[in-house]
């Protein structure tokens, strides 16, 4: 019987099965920790435990320092999309709707989700690696021993800055995206600015604007919360910092795609 067990434990089936169980366990563990940190964050907010100096510093980091890369990504995505569709639509007689199509696409999806991706790669990863380094160098332990609440000190300014700044980033990025689309349509399909901007408002409603801002608000907070949580629970030295950063990026990407799908189903289905 023990031999049978030994052979079974060496089998591929056993290894695959235990691998899946381990991955599920890790997934639920991470989800639980993120949720717990989220609850603790909101408790601090309700108690108004906010350090305004740290908040301003993090808002600057989240919203200002990230702006060049965010605008570049959203702008270039708009150029790519406009160069693909504008000429074809003009050829098919739909030139008057290029502005509408681009605006719907940018306001509803491209502006917010590409800004999210840019912020994950630039700010989320840096938050995760910063907290992970603090964890492996015992700085977080030092914060706890000094009886300072690490959620209030580390999470509140970072996550709150995500909630606050992401809508602003999205507004600016979407504006740049629409302008980039107009310029691209002008040069690739000889579509006048007037034709582009006249049709811009045909498919856009107030609902699109506030859903986009709501999405940006949620995405910003979720990106910062996931990134901080993944960094906060890092372990194992330099390798642990790398793993925590990767985990933060992957979890944030997946989370905002899932949330985007939920928003799409909830508001546009």
């Amino acid at each position: 019987m023990s031999n049978l067990q030994k052979y079974y434990k060496q089998s591929a089936t056993y290894k695959i099965f235990t691998g899946i169980i381990g991955a599920c366990n890790d997934f639920l563990d991470t989800l639980g920790k993120i949720t717990q940190n989220g609850i603790d964050f909101f408790k601090c907010i309700l108690k108004r435990q906010i350090n305004s100096t740290d908040l301003v510093e993090q808002c600057n980091r989240f919203g200002i320092t990230s702006l060049p890369i965010t605008l570049s990504i959203v702008g270039m995505t708009s150029i790519i999309v406009a160069s693909q569709v504008a000429l074809e639509m003009v050829k098919q007689g739909g030139g008057n709707f290029v502005g509408m199509l681009m605006t719907i696409l940018i306001v509803r999806e491209v502006g917010v989700i590409m800004s999210g991706f840019a912020l994950i790669s630039m700010i989320g990863s840096s938050m995760a690696s910063e907290l992970a380094t603090m964890r492996v160098t015992e700085q977080i332990d030092a914060i706890k021993v000094l009886q300072v609440n690490p959620i209030r000190y580390l999470f509140v300014p970072r996550v709150l800055s995500g909630f606050i700044m992401m809508p602003f980033v999205t507004i600016i990025a979407s504006t740049v995206g629409v302008l980039a689309g107009a310029v691209t349509a002008k040069f690739s399909a000889d579509l006048s600015f007037r034709a582009f901007f006249d049709s811009m408002w045909l498919g856009i409603y107030m609902k699109d604007l506030w859903v986009s801002l709501l999405k940006a608000f949620v995405f910003g907070g979720v990106i910062a919360l996931i990134s901080c949580s993944c960094g906060y629970y890092a372990s194992g030295g330099a390798k642990g910092v790398g793993l925590a950063t990767t985990k933060a990026v992957v979890w944030s990407f997946v989370a905002i795609v899932i949330l985007d799908m939920i928003f799409a189903l909830a508001f546009f289905f």
Partner: protein
């Protein structure tokens, strides 16, 4: 009595790291905890200051703060030295509005002077040597006037002269604060220069308890092996 540890047990995964450990440390006394790497010394400190929770047993501490000096100082690298030392005064809920900025600045200068450092308030930890970082971490630890100070390998990675300096400051801080101190160390010089009593851990259990002089007598087979740094003896390093 400042700290009393009763029948402490801590297990990680399947390994019992601390196995029924009990000891007391009085105010103004320094206890050295020695043992091989992985014998559970640092785990005891983390249990006492609440960073991890025990599986069973009791840790009784007097009212007041517990401070800890970390092995690699654990200074906040994004803050300058003054902000590192005053961190608790600025961020801790019960201390946040207790002092004015002028008072905090005075406290920082006083604590830095106590560890023999002056004029480095605006520097950052990365600009200091390992020994200076360690002394800054002493200053940060005593800023809340704790009645218990825990030192996790305070002289590791330092040259002999810096080690002696650090050992002198451990003694000086004990005399200044009358705090109960626990020093986790591998180094005999730290034990003989700072400790009033020593306990030795092996395999999660206390295998020796006595004074540094008792330890040097080598009539215990565990301390004999430790003091002579011998491979022969009851203690076996994990492969």
């Amino acid at each position: 009595m400042s700290i009393e540890v009763k029948n402490l047990i801590k297990t990680f995964a399947d390994k019992t790291v601390i196995n029924d450990v009990s000891f007391k440390v009085q105010d103004g006394e320094t206890l050295a905890i020695v043992g091989f790497s992985g014998s559970g010394k640092s785990t005891i400190l983390k249990l006492i200051c609440g960073l991890i929770k025990q599986d069973s047993g009791e840790i009784i501490t007097s009212d007041g703060d517990i401070a800890m000096v970390f092995q690699y100082s654990a200074l906040f690298d994004s803050l300058n030295i003054a902000d590192n030392i005053s961190f608790a005064l600025h961020e801790r809920r019960d201390l946040r509005n207790k002092y004015t900025e002028q008072e905090i600045s005075k406290i920082v200068t006083e604590k830095l002077a106590l560890v023999g450092l002056k004029g480095i308030e605006k520097q950052f930890p990365s600009e200091l040597s390992g020994g200076m970082q360690k002394r800054v971490s002493f200053a940060r630890a005593i800023v809340t006037e704790p009645n218990t100070i825990l030192y996790d390998e305070p002289t590791s990675g330092l040259d002999p002269i810096s080690s002696t300096l650090i050992e002198d400051y451990i003694v000086r801080l004990k005399e200044e604060t009358q705090a109960a101190s626990i020093v986790v160390t591998h180094q005999m010089s730290t034990i003989t220069r700072t400790a009033d009593r020593v306990i030795m851990l092996y395999d999660g259990k206390i295998v020796f308890e006595g004074t540094p002089q008792d330890m040097l007598k080598q009539d215990n087979e565990y301390t004999k092996q430790f003091v002579t740094a011998s491979l022969e003896g009851p203690m076996r390093m994990m492969a």
